[in-house]
């Protein structure tokens, strides 16, 4: 079914099931994203793709990667409210993942060169968007890693935060990671190659020792 609506005053035509982000990208309108990857279902975590949805005098911000297109809506991708969110998110990211070149570059593209917040861990790259775990679950079909813990402590990890024998070392997580963090974390998930075959032996032995 065809759906007509406006993005930045340009009339676009979409079909049922498309999201605002997909439609915008299809028409060559750029919206920044970090946690979005085509191979998995969108999760709306990074909030960089926020756009303003206007209806008369009333407006709200929505995450374009998960907002389904609707007939007659009006979307603006670059308003003051949108860029306020974007700027702050970039500043947060710069303070949380200072080591990620990709984030620095993206932030610079949107005019954010520095952050007002203190940097706690200068080596961190991970922003816990969960793409790696979604790929592992949806694409690889294994679920070797997942997002663990919650709130500020949220992080990516294999069960019990040690190498897991579920991991087949396919590296899909490394490939989708938008910040390059998974590259350094990968070895902690797959473990030493020489140990991989005997992972189970190791695991049982360790359990006997630690319990």
């Amino acid at each position: 079914m065809k759906i007509t609506f406006k993005i930045n005053d340009k009339t676009v035509e979409a079909r049922t099931g498309w999201t605002v982000l997909e439609t915008a990208q299809h028409y060559g309108i750029d919206i920044p994203t970090l946690c979005h990857h085509e191979s998995v279902t969108p999760s709306g975590a990074c909030r960089l793709c926020m756009v303003e949805l206007k209806e008369g005098n009333w407006s709200k911000l929505v995450a374009s990667c998960i907002y389904p297109v609707k007939e007659g809506i009006t979307i603006y991708t670059e308003t003051e409210r949108v860029s306020n969110v974007r700027r702050w998110v970039f500043e947060m990211l710069l303070s949380t993942c200072p080591a990620s070149a990709k984030i620095r570059q993206m932030a610079a593209n949107y005019g954010v060169a520095s952050t007002r917040f203190p940097i706690s861990n200068p080596d961190n790259k991970c922003m816990v968007c969960g793409l790696c775990s979604r790929v592992c679950e949806e694409v690889v079909g294994l679920s070797a890693i997942s997002v663990v813990d919650r709130g500020v402590h949220k992080k990516i990890g294999a069960p019990f935060l040690r190498p897991t024998d579920v991991c087949v070392a396919c590296g899909c997580c490394v490939s989708v990671c938008p910040t390059g963090a998974m590259q350094s974390f990968f070895d902690q998930v797959r473990g030493e190659p020489s140990m991989r075959l005997t992972q189970l032996t190791r695991q049982s032995a360790q359990e006997v020792k630690t319990s």
């Binding site: 975590a45 990074c46 998960i66 389904p68 409210r81 947060m92 990211l93 303070s95 919650r150 709130g151």
Partner: protein, 635 residues
């Protein structure tokens, strides 16, 4: 039917109710079988009273009665009820039929109560409540201002009935609304009645319950069944315990509301999601469901009307965010309670992607009242946009701590100053925090603000689940802001960046303020950042999280400025901006403080004035807490 007069313990299985008539018959028999003049001792077994050993009081009373050898005919019954509301005065004991109200009863008072009140009909004066202003003792519950000024509708039965006995509920009219709905109303009429009543969700946002049910009906037409009804009993707001009290004290009212809702929507399965921190509520609900099943009020073919419905209790596992509807659904599905990133309403796509109606405990408990007494009666309570009554938990720096039910629209001052008896010491309150971590502060200057959904939102706060935390001059707004942010950064699911990172960053800024660092500009930055979080967050937890800070900046900017510009904490709370000192005039040299001091920085001999060595003081505040004479000051 079995003879109720002789059966003390009624076998519920013999009472499988087959019609509305059976229910009324049962009620009649229960009432007939009880002697209205038989004395009854009602002991509050709410959590507050239990913590003050009310279970020991009831045991002592029981033992005392056995010892006293009272004639079996007039042997008083002991009834263990849910929370009676006046928690700061617990343990509470009510003597019927006189309606005597004893407060702060200890186990050792049991014999005296039996001897004087029950055997001789005298009043134990020292156990009565004394009005702090007039210093007059008040004998009965109805005369105490705390109760007198309330309008108890939802809480009506709580504190009167034994929550573990369904017969007690039935004798006070329980399940009649259900019977009415099932036998004389169509589902459509039920929904229309709820719509007409103007009932708004008591969980926080105040979405009209009737409209929610209506859109669920529309969604069902589109998507078909199954449809689910869910009770949100994940009362996470710190300081709120009204849902707990309802579930513990009158579990059947929630269950009845839920079954009515299920009937209206044609649901066959329901879920009660209850916080794990409320084991007693879970126990009582489980028992209530079991008894309701026995009586044929839950399960297959309810009241022989052909309508079947059953429910299951899901224990929460300790996550505030699971109070958010979609997070609650993912939690019921057995996953981490991350809110769903979807722009679809839960009435269309809720639990397992099916149409789902989720209301909180208090909302469900209102439903039977509306059905039984009619929408017109209900909308007559409260004000036009916010009908009915609302239960508040009044806590913090207030004399009468407890549960308060008032019609919507009464001013804040009425609740805090008249019912709550004001701040201890008589000073005016500084602010009232409503709506928990998602709400804001109402300053003293706005004390006439009517308490209803719209007025509170206008004042920058929100109704929330109904926690009212009274603050006085010794509470620092920066500290309160930090407290809520710390709470939320731990409780945020951590999925979206603005919430996970933004709240930490905000808290870090406030941390700096509390150390006297920062500038006025940073306060503006904070407001800006708050706006970004409000706009950017994925779920309601994040988008309302900056509220406590925003409202305190709005009403108490001076205090913020005092921190960042003068490096002073006017309330004397922020550790880095205060020092502890001993008031030489008040110090009696009792050594209580120096004994407790963990860093041994208080010196002074017995009966001599003590001195705090500021250089090694770690500002733990134990000295201030342990001083009985108020001699430890913060400067």
């Amino acid at each position: 039917m079995p003879d109720l007069n002789t059966a003390t313990a009624i076998d519920l299985n013999q009472w499988h109710l087959k019609s509305e008539q059976d229910l009324i018959e049962l009620q009649k028999r229960i009432i007939e079988s009880t002697d209205p003049n038989r004395p009854e001792i009602v002991v509050c077994h709410g959590t507050g009273c239990l913590a003050n050993a009310s279970d020991k009081v009831s045991e002592a009373l029981k033992a005392g009665l056995a010892k006293a050898g009272i004639n079996a005919k007039v042997m008083p019954g002991i009834k263990k009820t849910g929370c009676q509301g006046f928690c700061s005065r617990g343990p509470l004991v009510l003597i019927r039929p006189q309606g005597l109200f004893y407060q702060q009863v200890k186990a050792r008072d049991a014999d005296e109560i039996i001897e004087k009140t029950l055997m001789r009909g005298e009043i134990v004066k020292r156990l009565l409540y004394k009005d702090p202003k007039t210093k007059k003792a008040i004998a009965t519950e109805q005369e105490i201002p705390f109760y007198k000024l309330q309008k108890r509708v939802v809480l009506k039965n709580i504190g009167k009935i034994d929550p573990t006995d369904i017969l007690d509920t039935i004798s006070s009219g329980g399940y009649q609304a259900l019977a009415k709905a099932l036998t004389s109303m169509t589902p459509e009429q039920v929904v229309a009645e709820v719509e007409k009543s103007g009932l708004r969700g008591r969980g926080g946002a105040g979405f009209p319950a009737g409209r929610k049910w209506r859109s669920a009906l529309t969604a069902i037409k589109k998507k078909g069944r199954p449809v689910y009804v869910v009770v949100n009993g994940d009362e996470g707001d710190p300081g709120a315990f009204m849902d707990r009290t309802i579930m513990e004290g009158d579990p059947h009212s929630v269950l009845e509301g839920l079954i009515i809702g299920a009937y209206a929507l044609g649901a066959q399965n329901g879920y009660l999601y209850v916080r794990a921190e409320y084991p007693l509520a879970i126990k009582h609900l489980e028992k209530a469901m079991e008894q309701a099943r026995c009586l044929g009020l839950l399960g297959e073919n309810i009241l022989n009307t052909g309508f079947s419905f059953d429910a299951r209790i899901n224990r929460g596992a300790g996550a505030f965010v699971c109070g958010e509807s979609t997070a609650l659904f993912t939690s019921i599905e057995g996953k981490p309670g991350n809110p769903r990133p979807k722009y679809v309403r839960s009435v269309e796509e809720g639990l397992w992607g099916r149409p789902t109606v989720l209301n909180n405990v208090e909302t469900w408990a209102n439903v039977p009242l509306i059905i039984r007494k009619g929408a017109n009666w209900y909308s007559g309570l409260g004000v036009s946009n916010s009908t009915g009554t609302k239960v508040f938990s009044l806590v913090g720096k207030v004399n009468n701590v407890g549960l308060v039910e008032v019609p919507m629209g009464v001013p804040v001052s009425r609740i805090v100053e008249e019912i709550g008896g004001g701040v201890p010491g008589g000073a005016p309150f500084k602010a009232v925090q409503t709506g928990g971590p998602s709400g804001g502060c109402i300053p003293y200057s706005l004390k006439e603000t009517p308490v209803d959904f719209d007025s509170l939102t206008k004042a920058g706060s929100m109704m929330g689940s109904g926690a009212m935390i009274v603050m006085d001059d010794s509470d620092c707004v920066v500290d309160v802001g930090r407290y809520f942010l710390r709470f939320l950064e731990e409780e945020s699911c951590g999925k979206c960046l603005p919430c996970r990172l933004g709240l930490s960053r905000m808290r870090e800024v406030l941390d700096r303020f509390s150390q006297g660092k920062g500038s006025e500009k940073e306060i503006d930055d904070l407001i800006n950042l708050s706006q970004a979080i409000v706009d950017g967050a994925l779920c309601a937890l994040g988008s309302s999280a900056p509220n406590p800070v925003l409202t305190t900046i709005r009403y108490f900017k001076d205090e913020y400025l005092a921190h960042v510009q003068d490096q002073k904490c006017p309330a004397g709370v922020c550790k880095d901006l205060i020092t502890y000192r001993i008031d030489e005039e008040k110090c009696t040299g009792c050594t209580a403080c120096s004994k407790q001091c963990p860093s041994n920085c208080i010196s002074g001999e017995k009966k001599k004035i003590h001195v705090i060595d500021a250089s090694s003081c770690i500002k733990c505040g134990i000295c201030k807490e342990s001083c009985k004479f108020g001699a430890v000051l913060t400067v």
